[in-house]
Amino acid sequence: MSTATRNRDVWWMTWFFPAWYAVFGVIICLLTRVTPPPRPDVTAAEKVAFFAQHHLTIQIGFTLLLILLGGAAMTNGLVCYQIKRMSVGSVFAYGYIGGMSVGALPGFLLVTVCFLTAAYRPDRNPELISLLYDLGMLSYNGSLGCFTAAYLVLAIAILYDRNEVFPKWFAYVSIWQIITEVIATQMFVFPSGAFAWNGSIAFWLAVVVFSVWLGALIVLLRRAAEEESAKESAQMVAAQ
């Protein structure tokens, strides 16, 4: 046995994490055009036109996402694993995957299916296309509780942890994420303005905070894996 290979699987997932989000970013930003989001304050005819204009890229992008959807689960499983390494036991780790696996359906799948169904029959009644558009966008941008629950248990786990798997400031960054989810409640009320699903506060500021959170998580997952490797090789040396 070579030294420190026991967490080789963790390293695989740690590299997979940014790779998956990169692909996901390309899909949602460049192909399917759901981020940045299309406008909520348009007529049914304009929504039909949106689907007509991006017909092909929506189909390519979201079909790709249907295949890669499981990557979200895999990235969340990795975070769950790191929470399990904390001194706080498994409760928060299970809470995290609980919240995140619920979130996969309203957070990713529903928008995928709604947009593909809309693109499936472009000659459908425009009112129905409009319904699919709203349903997709509101569930995608507005699935709040599942992620809030996951961020909350993550933050508490980090604050109570004594193994220093993640630094304390990341707990606070997760709390910002909760705050942005709280503000996102407003998108169910406002079809335009700062709090709409494409609004400067409910969307753009939230995206900035999310990017900070995600970028920090990518770096911290790598650091946690490095520390785990170092600890294991130290243990192996000690055992010999």
Partner: protein, 247 residues
């Protein structure tokens, strides 16, 4: 499985017994779901995506009772496959590595099951008021079929994770034999094209097509059957190792 008398009350025996029960829920649920699939009129042959809204509405009006009976069964029993899949998680945690693949598998399994559960609801809502505007019935039918066939991402990631876990399991006597990894990847490859069901209305990739319907669903059924025997062997070996049954 004959548990040794002296081991009866050990926690290890309890663990083996629980796994054994979960193992046998597999064929039981499989049988029920097979009956439901046979009873669902929309599968024989699978409803064509090219049906007009009126035809779809007429189909739901003509077969309301059987659609309801079979989809309620799917709704009630579909997620009962979860204990069987949990068994794979438990066995993955016995492999020689950290448990990260097992947690990823668990997450993907829960999300995948949730997606399946959603499709039954769409079928059932479409059958709830057959007198509804045909355009709405067609919409519900589209959603039901697309959610049922196309989102294979969660299961595909389960196969990939299982394969990775098997390949990374470098114990002298691995929990699963290596071919399970290859097999798992082949099943994944067989299911991936079904994502096209959300785009194509005709041909093998349409939801009633050879690939998206028959190969996809057949592959998954084959996986469950093969994993039944693989898991049975793994549990028996674990039982011997734990001293719960005689070799």
């Amino acid at each position: 499985m004959q548990i040794l008398e002296q081991a009866q009350d050990l926690p290890t025996a309890g663990n083996i017994k629980a796994q054994w029960v979960s193992l046998w829920t597999g064929p039981a649920v499989g049988a029920v779901l097979l009956v439901a699939a046979i009873a669902f009129p929309g599968f024989w042959p699978p409803m064509s995506p090219t049906m007009s809204a009126d035809q779809v509405a007429a189909f739901y009006a003509d077969h309301t009772a059987w659609i309801r009976a079979s989809q309620v069964t799917f709704n009630l029993c579909g997620i009962l496959i979860v204990p069987f899949l949990s068994l794979i998680v438990v066995q993955m945690k016995r492999m020689r590595q950290t448990h990260v693949f097992a947690y990823c598998y668990l997450t993907a399994m829960v999300s995948g099951a949730t997606i399946f559960a959603l499709s039954n609801v769409f079928f059932l809502v479409a059958a709830f008021r057959p007198g509804r505007n045909p355009e709405l019935i067609q919409l519900l039918n589209d959603l039901a079929w697309i959610v049922f066939i196309a989102p294979i991402g969660m299961v595909v990631s389960q196969f990939v994770l299982l394969a990775l876990a098997v390949y990374f399991d470098d114990q002298e006597h691995p929990v699963f034999p290596k071919w399970v990894g290859h097999f798992s990847l082949i099943i994944a490859a067989a299911m991936v094209p079904a994502a096209g069901a959300a785009v194509f209305q005709t041909g093998p990739l349409a939801w009633d097509g050879l690939w998206s319907f028959w190969v996809r669903n057949g592959a998954y059924a084959l996986f469950v059957i093969v994993m039944f025997f693989v898991l049975r062997k793994a549990i028996q070996r674990q039982a011997v190792d734990d001293g719960v049954i005689s070799a």
